[in-house]
């Protein structure tokens, strides 16, 4: 691997300063995406800033009607959290299905969201729950965060510190695996608020996470998956050796229906 300088700051300010001091800086959260890409020589930062020693970035807590998850909370922390399981069950399911057990023991929600891999699971939860993204500089609504393939609204040196989720009435995540990588070929996060507003957010199918407005409108109007229209508007479907655009589009419909069906079923059982 290309040599670099590893910096291990103990505060956000220190991290930010360290980042700006080198042109080729890179933040390191869990490293589950960054380190393999560095090993393959696809990225070669000259300075890597490890965020793991900064205190207070991995807490999971409830404040009133919201759940806060720190950016450095690992997937295994989120998957095991009783708070998440009670109030954001879809997020718990999603976190418990990322990669594999070893990856979940290192990978973090902040790293995943900041990386914005088009096939990563987490962006769908952020968008599907209309979360607020907190950084060292500001708060960003989910709708303004994901800008494209591996692109986010994060500015140079800006780093994620956590996420705030308004507690929904229910949420669920369904993933159809790309079996080699364990990423989502198509993943769908659905949520419904207490005033019965639905969100359907899709990852894996396109260059970035997107919502399916047609499905949401059907659900908001009290319909179900059977009423979903055959067509929906979305960014261009991805097409690669693991799935053609046609197939991905079809999977969006199938997996969305299943996600919604599951959520409706579990909510019905609760009542």
């Amino acid at each position: 691997m290309q040599p670099f300088e590893l910096v291990r700051p103990k505060s956000l300010t220190e991290a930010h300063t360290a980042f700006l001091a080198d042109e080729e800086s890179q933040y390191l959260a869990g490293g589950m995406s960054l380190i393999p890409t560095m090993k393959l020589g696809l990225v070669a930062p000259s300075r890597v800033i490890d965020l793991s020693l900064i205190p207070g970035l991995s807490a999971i807590s409830r404040t009133g009607d919201a759940i806060e998850i720190g950016a450095m909370a690992r997937h295994c922390d989120v998957a095991r959290s009783p708070i998440v399981s009670q109030y954001l069950s879809g997020v718990g399911l999603l976190a418990g299905g990322i990669g594999d057990r070893q990856v979940r023991n290192r990978g973090t929600i902040g790293g995943s969201v900041a990386n914005n891999d088009p096939a990563a699971c987490y962006p769908s939860a952020i968008l599907g729950l209309n979360a607020t993204i907190k950084t060292n500089l500001r708060q960003i609504p989910a709708s303004e965060f994901f800008l494209g393939l591996f692109e986010t609204a994060l500015q140079h040196g800006e780093m994620l510190t956590g996420f705030r989720f308004d507690i929904p009435k229910g949420s669920h995540y369904e993933k159809f695996h790309q079996k080699a990588s364990r990423f989502a070929l198509v993943g769908v996060f659905v949520s419904v608020t207490n005033d019965l507003t639905w969100r359907v957010a899709v990852t894996g199918a396109s260059s970035q996470v997107f919502r399916v407005g047609e499905y949401e409108r059907v659900l908001d109007a009290g319909g179900g998956p059977r009423d979903f229209p055959g067509e929906f508007t979305s960014p261009a479907m991805s097409s690669d050796i693991h799935g053609s655009a046609d197939y991905r589009k079809h999977l969006v419909s199938v997996i969305s229906s299943r996600a919604v069906g599951q959520l409706m079923q579990s909510m019905a059982q609760q009542h």
């Binding site: 691997m1 670099f4 590893l6 291990r8 589950m32 380190i35 393999p36 990669g99 057990r101 290192r106």
Partner: protein, 159 residues
């Protein structure tokens, strides 16, 4: 910037203190610096899990962690796994169930399973198959590994 970073950790119970280069991976540190060559590296994209170790009790892929980040942790490799009851049970089960053939993925598999049987109880075969998706074995077809997980689990439950 200094060329090396001092790291100290416990490896299989032994305190270790070394200067390592910033970019050294934990897998490289354990294999090349500590010469604990039971740790194997089978891929470069974090899929195969051959390099799995326990880090503060968590199964992690040591090929995807920079060595300096292991500072202050306690690490268990295959060389030290049999020091604990769970480790002994898993090692014995792999042997008795013929859960290994060429032995290359085995150290990582054993450590992954040690975490699994330590942190879970009474999982069934289907769950066990799901739970080891972070380890690839090309020899056994997993059948006997799954049997070994079941045996180790019931051994520990009975203990």
């Amino acid at each position: 910037m200094s060329e090396k970073i001092c790291v100290s950790m416990r490896v299989n119970g032994e305190p270790i203190c070394r200067d390592v280069s910033h970019e050294m991976l934990l897998a490289e540190f354990i294999r090349n610096e500590l010469r604990l060559t039971g740790l194997h590296v089978g891929c470069d994209t974090s899929q195969c899990g051959a390099c799995t170790i326990l880090m503060d009790g968590d199964a992690v892929k040591s090929c995807t962690i920079f060595a300096p980040l292991a500072d202050g942790t306690s690490i268990t490799t295959i060389e030290g796994v049999a020091e604990t009851p769970a480790g002994r049970a898993v090692v014995t089960a792999f042997h008795e169930c013929h859960g290994l053939q060429c032995g290359f993925c085995t150290p990582g598999f054993v450590l992954s399973v040690v975490e699994l049987v330590t942190k879970t109880s009474s999982i069934d075969e289907t769950e066990a198959r799901q739970a080891v998706e972070g380890n690839i074995c090309r020899c056994t077809g997993y059948h006997n590994i799954v049997r070994a997980i079941m045996q180790a689990q019931s051994e520990l439950a009975g203990a």
